[in-house]
C-alpha cells in the first residue's frame, strides 16, 4: 500500500541514495488510492454498496414507493372512501394510445357501462369503444391537504365526464388504485415506526445488558428468552384483541405498532448486546478509557458508531417482517379496521374464494406487499455486505 519513507526511518538505516524522482512510489500514488486513505466509514460503505446492483435497484424502487405514498392524495384520482355508484367490482381499465381509429398522443380510456346478465345475475362491464375519454393531467377534483398542510384540489391525472379505475374497484365501488396509494401510507409507515421503536428498545436494553453485564444482563436475557418463546401469531392475536374496541383508528394504528415492536426488539436487543460485549473489551475501547475519555463519550464515539452500520442493515431486514405482521393481523381482522386503509385491510376483503374468482384484481395490494418486502430484503442484503467495510 503505502511506502512513504519517513525522515526518521531513513536516518535509522543505511542512507538511501536519492532516488530518481519518478521512482518515488509515495508520490506516485494513484488518485483513487489517495481517496481511499481519507475515506470515512460511510464513504467506504457507499463505495461497497454501489457495487451491489440489485440492492441499488431496490433502493430506487423503495424510494419511488415512498414518494408515491407521500404524494398519494395528489397521485390518486379520487378520495379513498369515495364510492362510485353503479361501479361495483369494475375490473382494471386499460389505458390506450390507439384503437382502430388510429393513434392518439394523449392516452385515453373507454367509458364503461354496467350490464346485468339476467341468467347468472352477475354484473358485466362493457366498454363503449365508440367514444374516447382522454386522460388529462393536473385536473381538478376532490380537495385534500397535501402533506397535511396545503389545501389543494389538483390531481395528477383524471378524466372529465367519466371514470378511470386503473386497478378496478371493490365491492363498494371504491377505486382500488387510490386505495392502494393511501394504504401504502399506513402500511409502509407502520414498518418504519415499528422498527424505530424496536431500535430504541433494542439499543437501550441490549446496550445496558451488554455494557453492565451481571445481574441486569441476566434479567434482560431471561426476559428476551421468554418473549421469544411465545408463538408470535397467537400472541399478536391476544394483544390485538386486548386493544379497546372504542379506540380511534389512529389509536389502533399506534397500538399495533407498539405491539409489533414490543415483540420485535428482542432480536435486535440480542445483536446490540453481542456487539457491545465484543466491543467493550476491544483494544481501542480500553485505549480510550486509559486516555481518560468518559464512559458516555466512549459509548457515543466508539461503541455506537462501531455497530450502527450493522444495526441499520439488520433493521432494514426487519422492516419486511413488520409489514408482513401488520398485513397478517389486519387480514385476520384483529389489526387495523376499516375505515383505515392499509394493504392488510384491503386484502382482508379478498378473503373469500367467490370474490377472488369474480374479482381477482382485489389481490393487487398483495403484489405491492411482495414487491416492498423483496425490495427491502435485497436492500438489507446489500447493506449487510457493505456494513463492515474493514473486514476481508
Amino acid at each position: 500500500m503505502d511506502q512513504g519513507l519517513s525522515s526518521q526511518q531513513a536516518t535509522q538505516n543505511v542512507p538511501l541514495p536519492k532516488p530518481p524522482s519518478a521512482d518515488d512510489d509515495s508520490t506516485a500514488l494513484g488518485k483513487t488510492e489517495e481517496k481511499v486513505f481519507y475515506a470515512t466509514q460511510w464513504q467506504l460503505m457507499w463505495w461497497k454498496f454501489r457495487k451491489h446492483k440489485v440492492a441499488m435497484v431496490s433502493a430506487v424502487v423503495i424510494i419511488f414507493m415512498y414518494i408515491c405514498a407521500i404524494f398519494a392524495p395528489f397521485i390518486a384520482p379520487y378520495a379513498p372512501t369515495e364510492r362510485h355508484r353503479g361501479f361495483l367490482y369494475v375490473p382494471p381499465q386499460k389505458v390506450r394510445f390507439w384503437d382502430e381509429n388510429g393513434f392518439s398522443l394523449r392516452p385515453f380510456v373507454y367509458p364503461i357501462e354496467q350490464e346485468i346478465d339476467i341468467m347468472t345475475m352477475q354484473r358485466k362491464y362493457i366498454e363503449d369503444t365508440s367514444k374516447r375519454l382522454p386522460v388529462k393531467f393536473f385536473v381538478r377534483g376532490s380537495s385534500y391537504k397535501l402533506l397535511g398542510l396545503f389545501e389543494c384540489d389538483i390531481h395528477l391525472f383524471g378524466v372529465e365526464d367519466g371514470k378511470v379505475f386503473l386497478f378496478g374497484t371493490d365491492n363498494m365501488g371504491r377505486d382500488l388504485f387510490t386505495r392502494v396509494l393511501y394504504g401504502a401510507q399506513i402500511s409502509m409507515s407502520i414498518g418504519l415506526v415499528g422498527v424505530f421503536l424496536s431500535l430504541l428498545l433494542g439499543l437501550v436494553f441490549g446496550g445496558i445488558s451488554g455494557y453492565y453485564g451481571g445481574a441486569v444482563d441476566n434479567a434482560i436475557q431471561r426476559i428476551i428468552e421468554v418473549l421469544r418463546s411465545f408463538p408470535t401469531i397467537p400472541l399478536w392475536m391476544a394483544l390485538g384483541a386486548a386493544l379497546p374496541p372504542e379506540l380511534s383508528p389512529v389509536g389502533v394504528y399506534m397500538g399495533i405498532t407498539i405491539i409489533l415492536s414490543l415483540i420485535g426488539w428482542t432480536a435486535l436487543g440480542r445483536q446490540v448486546r453481542g456487539k457491545v460485549l465484543a466491543l467493550k473489551n476491544e483494544d481501542f475501547v480500553i485505549a480510550a478509557r486509559l486516555a481518560g475519555t468518559s464512559e458516555p463519550r466512549i459509548i457515543m464515539t466508539h461503541l455506537i458508531p462501531s455497530f450502527m452500520s450493522h444495526i441499520i442493515a439488520s433493521l432494514t431486514l426487519s422492516i419486511p417482517s413488520m409489514i408482513l405482521a401488520e398485513t397478517s393481523l389486519s387480514f385476520l381482522g384483529i389489526g387495523l379496521r376499516p375505515p383505515v386503509v392499509s394493504w392488510g385491510v384491503m386484502l382482508q376483503q379478498a378473503q373469500n374464494v367467490n370474490t377472488l374468482m369474480m374479482a381477482p384484481w382485489l389481490l393487487i395490494p398483495g403484489v405491492f406487499v411482495v414487491v416492498y418486502v423483496l425490495a427491502f430484503n435485497f436492500l438489507g442484503d446489500g447493506l449487510r455486505d457493505a456494513a463492515d467495510p474493514y473486514g476481508v
Binding site: M1, T40, R222, F284, A288, L290, T293
Partner: protein, 342 residues
C-alpha cells in the same frame, strides 16, 4: 504516603488477579478461580526497561492491564511515582486514575484492533489530549509533533487507519501513548504481530524514544531474542508467577531456572551452523491452574524431585553481589547446571 526507593518509578508487590469461574442459570455462583496472575512482584527504575517474558496464557497481558487498572487486581499493590508523589494504582479512585494515567500509558499488541477504524489518525492520537482539556488548536499541533516523533508524516493526520501498514499502525499506537508525555510506558507485545523487517523498525523507535525522553518501559514479549535488545532486567513468567528475574546478561548467560533454560534453547537461531538441537521438553502450558500445589513447572521439568511436587518454591535472591539482580523460584537453583547462551 507509601514509600519506595528514590530511583524506582514502579513497584508491583504481590499482584494477583483471579478471574472467577461462574456457573448456574438464574443465580450465578463462583465455582472457582482462574489464577491468571498469582503473586507477582517487581520494580522498575527510572529510565530502565524491565522485560516480562513467557508463553501464551501465562498472564502477561493481565499484568499489564492490572497495572494500568484497565482491570482491577484481586490483591496486591502497584506503587507508581507521579510528579506529585507516590500513588497506589491498585486503590486509586477514578479521578486519581485519570490523573495518574497521564504519566503511565500502554501500547497494545494488535495493531489492528487497537485503533478505531472509524476515526482519523488525528482523533485517535488526540483522544487523550481532548480528554484532558487541550484546545483544538493545541491538539492539532501536538499530534503533528507526535507523528513526526514516531517517524510518520504530519500530513497523515487526516487519514484513516486502513491506509496504514501494521508497522505504521504500531507507530500511531505509540504516538497515542506518548501524547500526554508519560514517564512510564507499558508495551504489551508491541512487535509480535509485525513482520521481521518491520519489527526491527519499531524496536529501534522504542529505543530511540527511550534515549530521547528518558522513558521507563515495562516491555512484554514472548520472544526472548527481541527482549535482549531492549531490556535491562528480565522477568520470566510461568502460569501466573515469576520463575526467574535477573539482569539481562545474567539471565541469558547463566539461567538458574530449568524453564528459562528451556526457553532459551528452544529459540531456533538464524544460523545454520549453530547446533540447534531443541531439548524438547514434554507437555505444554494448559492454562493457569485452579489450585496450586508445588511448583507449576514440575510436571514438565526434567529435574523435578519430590519436593517440587509438594511445596511451591518462593522467588528468592541467589545473587551474592548487591548490585546484581538474580532471583529464582526453584528448589534446585543452586544445584542444577543449566545451559545459557553467550
Amino acid at each position: 504516603m507509601p514509600q519506595m526507593p528514590e530511583d524506582t518509578v514502579l513497584q508491583v508487590t504481590n499482584l494477583k488477579k483471579y478471574f472467577p469461574i461462574e456457573s448456574g442459570f438464574l443465580r450465578r455462583k463462583v465455582v472457582g478461580n482462574v489464577r491468571a496472575v498469582d503473586g507477582v512482584s517487581f520494580y522498575i527504575k527510572k529510565g530502565r526497561t524491565l522485560g516480562l517474558v513467557g508463553e501464551s496464557g501465562c498472564g502477561k497481558t493481565t499484568v499489564a492491564r492490572t497495572i494500568l487498572r484497565a482491570i482491577d487486581p484481586t490483591e496486591g499493590s502497584i506503587l507508581f511515582r507521579t510528579r506529585d508523589g507516590i500513588v497506589d494504582m491498585a486503590t486509586l479512585d477514578n479521578e486519581g486514575l485519570k490523573k495518574a494515567r497521564t504519566e503511565i500509558q500502554m501500547v497494545f499488541q494488535d495493531p489492528y484492533s487497537s485503533l478505531n477504524p472509524r476515526m482519523p489518525i488525528m482523533d485517535i492520537i488526540a483522544e487523550p489530549l481532548r480528554a484532558h482539556g487541550y484546545s483544538r488548536k493545541d491538539q492539532e499541533e501536538r499530534v503533528k509533533e507526535l507523528l513526526e516523533l514516531v517517524g510518520l508524516r504530519a500530513e497523515y493526520a487526516r487519514r484513516y487507519p486502513h491506509s496504514f501498514s501494521g508497522g505504521q499502525r504500531q507507530r500511531i499506537g505509540i504516538a497515542r501513548a506518548l501524547a500526554l508525555n508519560p514517564s512510564v510506558v507499558v508495551a504489551d507485545e508491541p512487535v509480535s504481530a509485525l513482520d521481521v523487517s518491520v519489527q526491527a523498525q519499531v524496536l529501534n523507535l522504542l529505543l530511540d524514544l527511550q534515549e530521547q525522553m528518558g522513558l521507563t518501559y515495562l516491555f512484554i514479549s514472548h520472544d526472548l531474542s527481541v527482549v535482549r535488545y531492549l531490556c535491562d532486567r528480565v522477568a520470566v513468567m510461568y502460569l501466573g508467577r515469576i520463575v526467574e528475574l535477573a539482569d539481562v546478561d545474567i539471565l541469558y548467560g547463566q539461567p538458574r531456572h530449568p524453564y528459562t533454560s528451556t526457553l532459551l534453547s528452544s529459540v531456533p537461531d538464524a544460523d545454520p551452523r549453530s547446533a540447534w538441537h531443541a531439548k524438547a521438553i514434554k507437555g505444554e502450558i494448559t492454562g493457569p491452574p485452579r489450585e496450586v500445589r508445588g511448583c507449576a513447572f514440575a510436571p514438565r521439568c526434567p529435574y523435578a524431585v519430590g519436593i517440587c511436587k509438594s511445596t511451591a518454591p518462593e522467588l528468592r535472591s541467589i545473587s551474592t553481589d548487591e548490585s546484581v539482580t538474580h532471583e529464582v523460584a526453584c528448589h534446585l537453583a543452586e544445584e542444577l547446571e543449566l545451559e545459557g547462551v553467550s
